[in-house]
Amino acid sequence: MTEQDFAQLVREHKSTIYTVCHMFAADQDEVNDLFQDTLVNLWRGYDSFRGQSKLSSWIYRVTLNTCISADRKKRRAPTVPLEMDVNLYEDTDADSRQIQLLYRRIHRLKPFDRAIVLLWLESLPYDEIGAIVGISAKNVSVRLVRIREELKRMTDE
């Protein structure tokens, strides 16, 4: 894969990658760290991508793995410059308020449930979600029912 191909791949999936990073991060600096680390991991791992799953599934898997294991890396990584000129934590327009509400809801879930709900929100089928997070499609469905109930409880609170 050439750098141009990779840049194209990142351009096509930047929104997905950034969304996952945003939902796992506590602040803007951490989003940037996660985003950068994910891009580096995607670049390094591309050669090992055998095409057994869809490219988008592989990107999700790498992004989620990077975000879930970020606590360990977070202590070592230095701060980095902004990659996207957007601050989803501080913007105050109507859309941003909705996005902040989404963030607060997702952030209250456990990391594993966070991953499942993010993939479901991206309209991925259960079997693909299961393949990415490493559980069966049936298990995904059961967990989503529980997540839905938990989210309803949050709304009621």
Partner: protein, 192 residues
């Protein structure tokens, strides 16, 4: 409204906002460039190490074969110059220098290395041809060796020369390709 359905709409808003953003990732580009420079440095380390180790080995082999002192001396000097030139070509491309340099500076050093490698090829190719001819002349002039032994050594030398030449050519092309990729990458970042 079902919270998950509401979240889906919120996510669509987020995607819409993010799609409008451009990504300029200096650290990513740096990481890619560093990996390639490390590959170049590994190649240089192998060339340098083989050149240095070949000096005593060749001196010993040529003394066993009874070649002239001048032949051994010129070979040893060539190998030493090759090792020193490789080190000189890669000056400023070590990990520590790369960490504190801008990508533009890294690009300039890569361009310099690429040019020095091309110059070395212009010198080394005719030199190796001359050296092989001299080697054949030295072996052919060994009256102590039987004709079969002389032919055996000459064939061995020819095979070694061809294999070495192919390996060297491949290494040269790989280095030039990596250098070109790094320069393209740095140029892309500068025009981004």
């Amino acid at each position: 409204m079902d919270p998950l359905e509401q979240m889906k709409e919120q996510l669509a808003l987020l995607h819409c906002k993010l799609e409008r953003q451009e990504i300029i990732s200096d650290r990513l580009i740096r990481s890619i460039v560093h990996q390639k420079v490390q590959a170049l440095n590994r190649e240089a380390l192998i060339i340098g190490t083989v050149s240095v180790l070949s000096i005593p080995y060749c001196t010993w082999v040529f003394s066993m074969l009874g070649t002239s002192l001048w032949f051994s001396l010129v070979t040893a000097v060539f190998l030493a110059v090759a090792a020193a030139y490789t080190w000189y070509s890669h000056r400023g491309l070590d990990r520590r220098s790369l960490t504190v340099s801008s990508l533009r500076e890294v690009g300039q050093r890569i361009a310099r290395m690429k040019m020095l490698y091309a110059r070395w090829l212009c010198f080394s190719l005719p030199f190796i041809c001359f050296w092989l001819a001299w080697f054949a002349f030295e072996i052919a002039g060994q009256a102590d060796l039987s004709a079969e032994r002389r032919i055996g050594i000459l064939c061995g030398g020819a095979v070694g020369g061809i294999v070495g030449g192919i390996a060297g050519w491949m290494s040269y092309n790989r280095t030039q390709r990596l250098a070109r990729e790094i320069l393209d990458q740095v140029a892309n970042l500068e025009t981004a």
